[in-house]
Symmetry: C2
Subunit: 218 residues, 2 copies
DNA sequence: ACCGCATTTCAACAAGCGTTGAAAAATATT
DNA sequence: AATATTTTTCAACGCTTGTTGAAATGCGGT
């Protein structure tokens, strides 16, 4: 069995597919476009990945495990560094979000495209339920469980709705639509990840505390 | 020039296109699918709307003016009812969001589909910058301006980033992906609009106040 | 130098796409 | 009742799509 050194064309197909799928969605991209941008024959995508949907899944899964474990590690680390009282809401949210910022800040456009693709999938009524669950549910559950401990007395329902709001704010940030750039007249730039997360974290933490505050009166 | 009574088939095409575009996106839907679901010949869509892209725009614009003025009216009403000090952050956000809840609660699935389509467009790096600006920018500016008054001393940059988070949370809610349903084990339902907005409003208001708080120290 | 296997290209397919011009049907005008 | 206009269908076009089988190329083992 030959070790078959990593053929660069295979990766190039994944890279281009990642970029185009993130920009135009699954149906907005043709295999021929991908092949052309990758400098490769059309049939090569089918040879390596099978059907178009399989290529889509391959793109989705290529970085999923790495991203998942990075976020889970961050959560564990913040739990370990916190005392017996456990980490604060800010610390948990920070652990949930910062690995994404770091990925975007590597300068590797692949990660930015990948996260924009995740945003596309997560916001889609069709793809979201079909693809997000299997890979991200356990991570989200761990995160929610940590939040439950940090918010004693909070109702589960409230925590889930707050998470929903967090997920939405994050998703739009990942999508990198550039809308905020125009709206703010250049004062905010979607590509300024640090500013985005620096504002998102206290925003979300305050929301959690307001809605899930101790005396859970409504 | 005949008055040409409203042909019902034209509206049926719009309704079906609205529903399918919201679910699968622009490229995920064919004119033949739309025509079939509407019980109509393929050519009829071209006759009424021209190219496929024109139909997409027609769907987008059909309800845009109505929605925009409803939200603007709500903003004016809350400004009028408030004293000289102007409305609070909660009141402004409420005015921004409640008309959407009301539209979703009419029971007319058309409005739900339409708002899911808006979510699709707003979250798309391709369609967002292309379609959202022309129709929604003035509304958002009015809303931001009101927030500026309600948050004296806040930096514009902070306000815009907070609006970005609000927009994200709202977008995911409009998309109705149903992810929260599964995650929460049924405790939260995406179709329970009242619960969604009841949680979103205090969440967002608290975020604004935290990030744009009076002593704008960071 | 030859062989076996993985990789890549070539060529072509059947199906479905958006679009269009002309015919048919329905509706309005006179 | 006859005519003009709008609405709808029919039939077809040129093109692109995803996919496939066979041929060509590259490459490590012997």
């Amino acid at each position: 069995m030959t070790k078959s050194r990593q053929a660069p064309k295979r990766e190039r197909i994944l890279d281009v597919a990642e970029e185009l799928f993130a920009l135009r969605g699954y149906d907005g991209v043709t295999l021929r476009q991908i092949a052309k941008d990758a400098g490769v024959d059309v049939a090569l995508a089918s040879y390596h990945f099978g059907k178009k949907l399989d290529l889509f899944n391959a793109v989705f899964e290529r970085r999923a495990a790495h991203l998942n474990s990075a976020r889970l590690d961050a959560l564990k680390a913040c739990q370990a560094s916190a005392g017996a009282a456990g980490p604060s809401v800010e610390q948990i949210i920070e652990a949930f979000l910062r690995p994404l910022e770091l990925a975007q800040e590597t300068g590797d456009p692949g990660w930015q495209n990948y996260l924009a693709l995740i945003a596309y999938i997560n916001n889609s009524p069709y793809w979201g339920p079909r693809m997000m669950s299997k890979l991200f549910d356990s991570l989200v559950s761990a995160f929610i469980s940590a939040l439950r401990d940090a918010l004693p007395g909070a109702r589960d329902e409230d925590i889930y709705w707050c998470y929903h709001n967090l997920s939405g704010a994050l998703t739009l940030t990942l999508a990198q639509t550039g809308r905020i750039d125009k709206l703010s007249g250049g004062k905010c730039r979607s590509a300024d990840f640090q500013a985005a997360y620096d504002h998102m974290i206290p925003f979300v933490a305050a929301g959690f505390r307001e809605v899930c505050g101790r005396a859970n009166g409504r």
